[in-house]
Symmetry: D2
Subunit: 278 residues, 4 copies
């Protein structure tokens, strides 16, 4: 007896479409470098049976990124995402939802020159736009932002089961590679303006906080971000606990009053939380 199956979900698109836009319209050049991912959902089930008549090729999706980047103005990744998502939904009737995810590499001006730049860090700006018949959703974010506290951080008062060996400490290094995304109240806000409020608020909260745990600091950061802009309803933070282990120097007859640490990548804690305005 043959198995009867149903295709219950499907989506497709292009990943890692790389783009640099150079703007030389003013004395000082401006550059914008991103990785774009397109993802379409809709009336594509027949493609899975070999009928390509509705399949907008992923190569075409890639071309669209370059063509729109040439012809349409946009101020940031969120606006580019909206342009692209709207384009696919509006021009292709079979597309019911378009999701555009963009990752931006930060560049800073190098010296006084109008035309020289230097990579401005490991962190990336992110934008994620979803357009469908229900409307437009926009998320902004940052990922891979390395931050560290060397004071005012502890972890104690946790339960001890038979497998618990971790000592209680009131003074430890707290380091994370922050991933954070916030949802905008609408798709018509000034995304750059919101970002300019949210990013410093997140960092200031991290700096100012007397941390009793990563969870504790995560919430303080999320609350600060939500308070920093009325255009923000919700925020999602992922904070790996990048452990810096105190080196055990007693075999060498040495003490180690929080001087020598062993940074580690594996394993890592992973703390995650989502906060919403009431």
């Amino acid at each position: 007896m043959p198995t009867t199956t149903e295709l219950t979900h499907h989506t497709y698109g292009k990943t890692a479409v790389r783009l640099l836009r150079l703007d030389r319209s003013r004395a000082a050049h401006e550059i914008f470098e991103v990785w774009v991912e397109t993802r379409l959902e809709g009336d594509f089930a027949e493609a899975y049976d070999g009928d390509n008549s509705r399949v907008l090729a992923t190569d075409t999706q890639r071309n669209t990124v370059y063509a729109l980047a040439r012809t349409r103005p946009f101020a940031n990744a969120e606006e580019l995402g909206l342009l692209l998502a709207r384009h696919f939904v509006e021009t292709q009737p079979q597309v019911e939802r378009a999701t555009i995810s963009i990752t931006e590499r930060p560049w800073a001006r190098l010296g006084e020159a109008p035309d020289a730049f230097v990579g401005a860090g490991e962190q990336r700006r992110t934008a994620r736009v979803v357009v469908d018949s229900g409307g437009e959703l926009v998320w902004s974010g940052v990922r891979d932002l390395l931050i560290m506290k060397t004071g005012r951080s502890g972890f104690s008062g946790f339960p001890r089961d038979p497998f618990t060996t971790l000592p209680e400490v009131d003074d430890r290094i707290l380091a994370t590679r922050l991933d954070v995304e916030w949802q905008l109240a609408s798709s018509t806000v000034d995304f750059g303006h919101v970002r300019a409020a949210v990013e410093p608020a997140l960092l200031a909260a991290f700096v100012d906080h007397n941390s009793l745990s990563v969870q504790h600091t995560l919430k303080a950061m999320g609350e600060a971000a939500l308070a920093a802009s009325p255009e923000l309803d919700e925020i999602h933070l992922v904070m790996p606990n990048k452990h810096y282990l105190l080196a055990n120097l007693t075999p060498f007859g040495l003490d180690n009053p929080n001087v020598v640490f062993i940074p580690t990548d594996e394993p890592a804690g992973r703390i995650e939380g989502r906060l919403k305005k009431l």
Copy 2:
């Protein structure tokens, strides 16, 4: 006026807990090497206000992986995942759901020796287990499995909009780095037995298929997998289209009848589908 916020979702755990179990109980040694990720959900909201009294430390979660791997028998990653997830839910009343994700590096025996091994490929076996009051869910999978067809693959009949330049082809290279996960009918099946049926079925379908698109092949593979085992209800496939571009040699006065290709990593198509038995 202060902003009132709510913590609407939270989870935490340990990532990249690395484990090798060596079994020397028989003449030929057996090894099992994995990366384990634990993730707990439950009554942890107070931790975000600085009360750690219910926070089972992620360090303890790591220790638990090693202790259970020593004391409890298990035949594969799925069974280890179940042991761990049940342990956290059963021993910690505040844990409402435990999710264990495991990635296994394949090793093969090297020669005839009982104690020598060689890495058996870039692909990884995966297992994902969720245990909560609603029951137990188990997913098995494979990721990063490189497969290629050099014949019986084309892509044509797709729509042409103003940004479409892709030529129609009835003979192209099709290559993907397959990620696939299948959900087991229950948590008491023989996971290895199912895997031994599903993996060859996926590959045989890929080999046998006359591909009109990645979507087309994806569905054939999913159907074959579902038909290969009664213990399988659902399967999810992600198939990036790793483009091998035909090199344009006409500037050098040369033809190129599908001989010389340029492999590329960026950009890539990304085709995704989920199939269920009816």
Copy 3:
């Protein structure tokens, strides 16, 4: 007073030129996938003062890879390397030395089909060819070959200074990610034939050896390789010691008779040796 400087060394070329050659001349297709790096040395000093009249563009070097792969027969990476290196030295008088480094991804046939393939491991074949007025040198190799011994491996008898805490063990896991290169006696040997002798000899020596240290095993492997082929004069092995640490389970009241290990990537030992036939 201005500083007077001299350009004492210079070289340039193209890295990561990706190529797949598909051969459908017989019933069963054959594929060959590589990353090619070209490097030229010679009369290029004027380029560093802005005179490009002798600079064969790196884009041209890339094109040459594709054109020669189309027009010239070759059986393996070593032969492709020789074709390319000779081409640059012979056609460009300013090129005094050409070095071609090639990395090959292994593919295996998937099932019985003539046109389906599966990635055959994380290891890569390597070839390095140097052509200049002094002649032609060819190195063959393998890199990133994961191998492990779970028996017949120890490390003891080493000196103990004030910073030595490592216990002596006569039974430990030995794992490495082997990088090895061997120099061929001439550029006219059958490189595939030599490889077919050397690779199994290396692995057999690893398997058979009662290892007192990584150094000890490295030498046994190198000697076996040199003995396996008269076409081989010299071999260079790099063997990182990928530590699998015995997990300390005593805090949980558990013993651990070489059952549960913690694989680690950082730090790693690194043992290196070069052997020559006398």
Copy 4:
């Protein structure tokens, strides 16, 4: 007839020893985070025959990094490298040469707080120290420094062979991920002082230069660095040409006056040069 072989070169050590030193002796904390690699050469040939009596364990080498970081003052990676290299040569008679390679992750102060930091870029500082009976050599450097010029850069006048298709351009994007190392005149100079002169000189030369090729700019940068400090005799620069390809928009009826570019990682040019003071 058995093959007679000789071990012609051997070296060993520990890679990726990770260290963070925290200095809280003043109001504002200071952090220093590095990856250390040790490499020893000397009278170790017997180890390759199974005699470990002279093999200072790589685990001991790792421990030494932590112990010396606790007990000995050092101002930068170069000084740490010298401490370690001298230690191995002076305390282990069988060590004839010690090479210490250090990579430093840059951190910047985050806000006004004395105890908060943020990752300061993708680039890394490097130091390499060699100590043997011939004396002490110190190299300082930077790697993975992303820099870009969007003006005053071209490439033309190069020869055209049958495989040359690259157009001549007088206005292109020039981007590189700079790797540079400079040799210090002695091991007693103030390494931080030299670095503070060399790094800005390299960048200023990159900014100021009217680039006719990567080679051209490389030499200008090297000369500027050599001129910036009397403590510098030699400098070695590696400058991959990270191509930003002008997108071809003519199929869409669009021009592209250096507005939309496609960043690429593969392939890349690779230009290298070494300059010495006369």
